[in-house]
């Protein structure tokens, strides 16, 4: 079964209140049939590491006999729940993997280049390796070859001063908000908005709700954030705040794009656009393109 279908099904059951565990956020993965067919030794050889880790976390050993009913052996099932572990799409790059900022290259998961709307198992690591091993060594030279005649930049330049001022103003702003919310509490809220409204199954309504919630969340971040400590030295909250601000931007962008794409395609599943079997229904006539959004000060412009 494809993992998007399995994941959607697991979340749907939990959302409807059929989840197991005291959180209700899990479904059972049952190894009984596989163990009865292949024996525990074979299964442990394949998944022993995973079983041990699982036992450490939950105090339940999934390979252990739990019950025997009418001669059929049942083993402790595992509680599982889907989780995000890849971002489809990413920073725009050209064929040389250079971004729209000259001299800045983006490789691996952060660029959009190798996958379409979905990616196959194991090909995320492949992307990092392929970009770094096969592409970059042959393209970055094109950029560097022109650089040899460019003199070294000095930090005494106007551009440097401007950049420094901007970063400093940003730091001062974040430290100066002195509101009531911790970075983590806003981050969690962002996660919940993305999970519930921009997740594995989306609708026009859910995406519009998400965009409203994200706007409010950005306001909360910019006006009610609290970062203790000082700017000097190690400050983990300040560090996280900078990332969170980017995450909110990225969340918004994903929601905009998902709202704009009136079809289902790969990992993007719009409930309005599905086949009778619940599979993604594409609309190549109108959406056979890579959407490229241009940052415009928290407004985004679509370029196709």
């Amino acid at each position: 079964m494809p993992r998007d279908v399995a994941s959607r099904a697991a979340k749907e059951r939990c959302d409807k209140g059929f989840g197991v565990n005291n959180t209700g956020k899990a479904v059972f993965l049952d190894f009984s049939e596989a163990i009865n067919r292949l024996g525990i030794d074979v299964i442990r050889q394949r998944y022993g590491n995973l079983f041990d880790m699982y036992e450490e976390i939950t105090d339940v050993n999934p390979g252990e006999l739990a019950n025997e009913i009418n001669g059929v052996k049942y083993y402790n099932p595992m509680m599982i729940y889907p989780a995000i572990h890849y971002t489809m799409g990413g920073i725009w790059v050209d064929y040389e993997l250079q971004t729209s900022i000259k001299g800045l290259f983006a490789i691996g998961e952060c660029n959009f280049s190798d996958h379409g709307a979905n990616r196959l198992g194991a090909s995320a690591l492949m992307q990092g390796l392929a970009d770094g091993y096969f592409v970059l060594p042959y393209t970055i030279q094109n950029y560097l070859s022109d650089q040899i005649s460019v003199p070294r930049f000095s930090t005494e330049s106007v551009e440097f001063d401007e950049a420094e001022k901007k970063v400093q103003a940003n730091l001062d702003h974040l430290m100066g908000i002195q509101g009531k919310r911790s970075v983590d509490s806003i981050h969690k809220e962002l996660g919940n908005v993305m999970w519930d409204y921009v997740g594995m199954a989306r609708t026009k309504e859910s995406l519009e709700t998400a965009l409203e919630k994200l706007k409010a969340l950005r306001k909360e971040f910019e006006t009610n954030l609290f970062i203790p400590g000082t700017q000097e030295g190690m400050n983990i909250e300040l560090d996280k705040a900078f990332r969170l601000r980017d995450f909110i931007t990225m969340g918004e962008l994903i929601a905009y794009d998902a709202l704009n794409r009136h079809e289902s395609c790969g990992g993007h599943f719009r409930e309005e656009h599905q086949t009778e079997e619940g599979e993604a229904k594409r609309d190549d006539e109108n959406f056979f393109y890579v959407a490229c959004w241009k940052y415009n000060g928290y407004k985004y412009k679509l370029q196709t």
């Binding site: 197991v20 565990n21 005291n22 899990a26 059972f28 041990d52 880790m53 450490e56 976390i57 939950t58 105090d59 339940v60 252990e64 739990a66 019950n67 049942y74 402790n76 099932p77 595992m78 509680m79 911790s182 983590d184 509490s185 609290f226 203790p228 400590g229 030295g233 190690m234 983990i236 909250e237």
Partner: protein, 258 residues
């Protein structure tokens, strides 16, 4: 045991004694915090998050500690809990430690890794850059190993592949150094040398690698190994002491060939 998963609703209250230190040069001290009604299904790091959330709510600075994957694969979490690196569980990292390992009314002591080669950055966060430097001295294969076809044409026994894989599971956390009374990095180094020494692709540079990495380790102020074995006892990835024997063998062979 029933078919249900672990659904314990128990929670515990305890005292948390945490090492606080503003920076590498500041004097450190223990602070004690009262933790109330923490569900035993909470992971140790989630418990630290709860503490930090409480501290921030009171306008105080949170406890700085390293963490990343929270699933035992990155080696970032580096807490010395109740006198053990990564706490009381064996074969597990701090992030894989759960509060059910502790009892109501306990006092739990949390310290940073303590080693001359790992200076404290802040609170429980230490600088483990020394490990990166050891790796950079030789922990890689620098020549082309050929395409997939060539790689598949080099036979490797299952034993060698398994053993190399076991060595490669070292996550570079530094618990071995923290556990060692000499502050030695031999278990880490032996894992990094073994993962290549056991494979034909690693042989070509084996002599250069072991000498360069050992020299770097000595230079960075790690102590000498006296075979106490505390490292292997505390290693979250169960890296075997026999790796150190292999490292010594590799080094002697390399020296003899000089």
């Amino acid at each position: 045991m029933s078919l249900a998963g672990s659904t314990t609703d128990t929670s515990i209250s305890f005292k948390l004694k945490v090492w606080r230190q503003a920076n590498a040069h500041a004097e450190g001290r223990f602070e004690t915090y009262e933790m109330r009604d923490i569900p035993t299904d909470t992971s140790f790091l989630e418990m630290m998050d709860i503490l930090n959330e409480q501290l921030i709510e009171q306008g105080q600075e949170p406890v700085t500690f390293d963490h990343d994957c929270r699933e035992g694969i990155c080696g970032m979490c580096s807490l010395y809990v109740n006198g053990h690196p990564h706490g009381p569980a064996t074969g597990a990292t701090t992030c894989q430690l759960y509060m059910r390992r502790f009892k109501d009314g306990d006092t739990i002591t949390v310290e940073p890794w303590r080693s001359a080669a790992f200076p404290v950055i802040k609170d429980l966060m230490v600088n483990r850059n020394a490990f990166d430097q050891i790796q950079q001295a030789g922990g890689y294969v620098s020549f082309q190993t050929g395409g997939a076809q060539d790689a598949n044409a080099i036979p490797i026994s299952k034993e060698a592949a398994d053993e190399a894989m076991d060595s490669a599971t070292c996550i570079g956390c530094g618990a071995c150094v923290a556990a060692c009374k000499n502050g030695s990095a031999m278990l880490f180094l032996s894992a990094k040398v073994s993962q290549f020494a056991l494979l034909p692709q690693g042989r070509a540079e084996a002599k250069r690698r072991v000498k360069a990495m050992l020299a770097k380790m000595d230079e960075l102020g790690f102590g000498n190994c006296t075979n106490t074995g505390a490292c292997a006892a505390e290693c979250p990835k169960n890296i075997k002491l026999s790796n150190i024997a292999r490292l010594n063998r590799e080094f002697i062979c390399a020296k003899c060939a000089d």
